[in-house]
């Protein structure tokens, strides 16, 4: 029973059942959804050992679905994240309306993503890609009135990407008469070089839109921020990885064969790095926590793109490592922001403050999340960042690494702002009696948080499956210890030693500071602070949150001033007015139409020779 067909049947069937259940037996809905996603996890887990490739003809095309290590990596991420986000959504979405719609689209997104990673031919890839796109669009516009234009923007950009991809597929079909990926990889060099570069560029655009590559990222911040949080976690965690999945294939399987691999590498790597830097800058100036995380996502995807583009074994490893890890930690962060939203009704960082004592587990998740994003040891993020930097330096991209470093240092700014504004700072009177988020929300979060720690100590548990997955791209061997990191110059970091040292010192120091003056150490409220003797009243909140990074904003003002978003809006406006002008070709006047007919006839008559190219 473990096969790809079952997987699709269960997931899409579950989607429809969930919708039906919502309108018949409401209690069954949640059960169906959870069981569906859990079965998904089980099937995906068992697939490599049991599944056989599925192949059938659809129209003119040979459809091919199969499991390989590379797909398996992403499929597991999708399955696990899908499962966790769905559990998380039980309580989060409880009070919302139209849950059948929500869960149906949610499961369709998951199914679409399974379809993408398991498809071995371009047609089914595009088929599932579009399914994923429209179902995610449906979720983006789920929330409210403001979501309409954002959703439209998302869809238009997605469509541009998808159609770029479609053009590439069509070109491949026209020239190679195949849609099979493996045949494409074998025969790619048979294409003319102009066609090769066109196909590569089109595919990069296609996948780049989903992975929010500059300058196609403009949809992402808004769409991430406005979609319901359980979905945002999946959106940023797994859905954006579909772009990465495709970019990996395009860069390492197609571009690597072409004559301009070096150029493609450099350009894509630079785009990735600039994406990372600018997205970080934009994240710093955000005031909405979810939007901040959205920009952060874009930045992290930039890192992954750089890693894929550089194309050395270590960099691919780091990219895939970061891709997997990003799925987890960004889901964690979005979930914690969502938990805050669930309790306070806002994610505005200028409003919500001081939740740490109210929501300790959420805080812990957020803390682990930001430490992982920052790449600070001992959590998993460090391994990814370390490998990326080493790979970037060792492959000779010296200035690239500077941009990456700048972005990653600047990332501390927004990460701190995220955790400070929501959880630290003065306790707000308004939130005096809120509680920790319910168990269905905290449990997935905390499990993932602990997982980042495990990955930090034993990066090998990620490195080994990723090493296997990289077998898809070529023969790379990674015979590292489970707890150590090794670069190409032979330098290494032993995470076990690192974590032991950090842990030992941390525990000693913590014990010392706790037992010292234990009985005379008092907890005081955050109202009891040094304010030059003045006493803040109950209603005063002195948390410094508005314009938190004003000085930094002033420093990077020239960058912030120019916005790609504005350019797109300008284009859209001009196009609309041009269309408006064209519309008046249809005057609504019968005589005009008659005139058109006569003119048409006359033109054809007069220029017949020209138009039909026939010597009369």
């Amino acid at each position: 029973m473990v096969s790809l067909t079952t997987l699709y049947e269960i997931t899409f069937g579950g989607a429809i059942l969930a919708f039906i259940a919502q309108h018949t037996i409401k209690q069954l809905r949640t059960f169906i959804v959870i069981v569906t996603s859990a079965l998904g996890v089980y099937i995906v887990w068992r697939l490599p050992s049991q599944a056989t490739d599925i192949s059938f003809r659809l129209g003119d095309f040979q459809i091919l679905w199969g499991v390989n290590e590379y797909s398996q990596l992403f499929a597991l991420l999708i399955a696990v994240l899908g499962f966790f986000t769905l559990i998380y959504s039980i309580d989060f979405m409880k009070e919302r309306e139209r849950l059948g719609y929500f869960y149906m689209n949610f499961l369709i997104v998951i199914g679409g993503m399974y379809g993408i990673v398991y498809s071995q031919d371009l047609i089914s890839l595009f088929f599932f890609w579009e399914i994923m796109t429209w179902s995610s669009f449906m979720l983006v516009i789920y929330c409210c009135d403001d979501a309409q234009s954002i959703g439209l923007k998302y869809f238009v950009f997605s469509a541009i990407g998808a159609y770029a991809m479609l053009t590439a597929i069509v070109l491949i079909w026209a020239n190679l008469e195949t849609t099979s990926l493996s045949v494409l990889f074998e025969n790619f060099t048979n294409l003319s070089s102009g066609l090769q570069i066109t196909v590569i560029v089109l595919f990069i655009v296609g996948f780049g839109v989903k992975s929010a590559m500059m300058p196609f990222h403009v949809w992402a911040p808004d769409a991430y921020a406005i979609s319901p949080t359980p979905f945002t976690a999946l959106f940023s965690g797994a859905l954006s990885k579909m772009g990465i999945w495709g970019l990996g294939i395009v860069l390492l399987k197609l571009a690597a064969q072409s004559g301009f691999y070096v150029w493609v590498q450099d350009i894509v790597a630079w785009i990735g790095a600039i994406t990372a830097l600018l997205a970080t800058f934009y994240a710093i100036v955000q005031t909405d926590a979810k939007k901040l995380l959205a920009y952060s996502s874009i930045g992290q995807l930039g890192y992954i793109i750089v890693g894929l583009a550089i194309g050395t074994p270590l960099s691919i490893m780091s990219a895939l490592f970061l891709a997997m890890l990003h799925g987890i930690f960004k889901a964690m962060l979005f979930m914690s922001a969502g938990a805050v939203f669930y309790r306070t009704g806002s994610t505005d960082m200028n409003e919500v403050t001081g939740l740490i004592r109210k929501m300790p587990w959420t805080f812990l998740t957020a803390l682990f999340g930001i430490i992982t994003v920052a790449g600070v040891p001992p959590l998993g993020g460090f391994a990814a960042k370390w490998m990326l930097y080493e790979a970037t330096i060792q492959s000779g991209h010296y200035f690239l690494v500077i941009v990456l470093f700048a972005a990653s240092t600047a990332a501390f700014l927004y990460l701190y702002r995220f955790i400070f504004s929501l959880f630290l700072g003065q306790e707000e009177k308004e939130y005096a009696d809120i509680k920790e988020a319910p168990l269905t929300m905290t449990v997935p979060m905390v499990i993932m948080a602990l997982f980042t720690l495990v990955v930090g100590v034993f990066p090998g548990i990620f490195i080994n499956p990723i090493g296997n997955a990289m077998g898809y791209f070529g023969n790379y061997t990674f015979n590292w210890d489970v707890s150590s990191l090794l670069n190409e110059w032979g330098n290494h970091v032993d995470m076990m030693t690192v974590v032991m040292t950090i842990g030992a010192i941390f525990i000693i120091a913590a014990i010392f500071i706790t037992i010292k003056n234990y009985r005379t150490t008092r907890y005081v409220t955050t109202k009891d602070i040094h304010t030059s003797g003045e006493i803040p009243t109950e209603n005063e909140n002195l948390t410094y949150a508005v314009d938190f990074y004003k000085p930094f904003e002033r420093a990077i003002a020239p960058v912030l001033k120019r916005s790609i978003d504005k350019t797109y809006n300008l284009i859209a406006e001009n196009l609309e007015s041009a269309f408006d002008f064209l519309r008046y070709v249809y005057t609504g006047n019968g005589q005009t139409y008659a005139l058109y007919v006569v003119l048409f006839l006359a033109v054809l008559m007069v220029f017949a020779e020209l138009i039909f190219g026939i010597q009369l």
Binding site: T520, R522, V524, H530, S532, G533, E534, I535
Partner: protein, 181 residues
């Protein structure tokens, strides 16, 4: 080892020596005497050689200088600042205004006797005391510390009710958090 009497004594000696030579002053300029602090601290008189240093916040400070007259309104802030300091902590009255009201003895809004409201360890008289006097006041405080007599904080805690009564008499609207030593 820690329970051993002599050893404890040694620890005490080290601690009081360190305390004595590291007096951090919270910079709270209450009255006209605040103008005497900059010369005390800077090149001319260089109080830093005695380990005296300004500190920005009461959380880090050891010494609260009341530099001159205290209006009722200021008194409330001063009490707040004092209570935010961590024990052991010392108060120095500065100038005659803190002793008996000085030239503001009959004013309707300046207090006359500081030690009714805060446990003053050292008074420095004069209107205003010169930096030399200030430094000699600090040396007096250091002596008291090494002798173990500068226990203002404990006195305050022990007689908190009495202090509170006096404070409440001049500050009718008492809206401060409870004293957490």
């Amino acid at each position: 080892m820690y329970n051993d009497k002599d050893a404890k004594k040694i620890v005490d000696i080290i601690q009081s020596y360190a305390r004595k030579h590291s007096l951090w002053v919270v910079a709270y300029g209450t009255g006209c005497g605040a103008i005497e602090i900059p010369p005390t601290m800077t090149s001319r008189y260089d109080a830093e050689r005695f380990g005296i240093r300004g500190s920005a916040t009461p959380r880090q400070a050891d010494v609260l200088l009341i530099t001159g007259y205290l209006a009722v309104k200021t008194l409330k802030r001063v009490i707040r600042t004092y209570e935010q300091m961590q024990a052991p902590k010392f108060v120095m009255g500065f100038g005659s205004c803190t002793i008996n009201g000085g030239m503001y003895w009959d004013s309707y809004n300046t207090i006359n006797a500081l030690d009714r409201y805060l446990p003053v360890d050292v008074f420095i008289n004069g209107c205003m005391p010169r930096p030399e006097a200030v430094i000699s006041g600090f040396i007096k405080l250091q002596q008291l510390i090494s002798e173990g007599k500068a226990e203002g904080a404990e006195k305050y805690l022990k007689n908190l009710e009495w202090y509170r009564e006096n404070q409440n008499k001049v500050i009718p609207n008492w809206n401060m958090p409870d004293y957490n030593w």
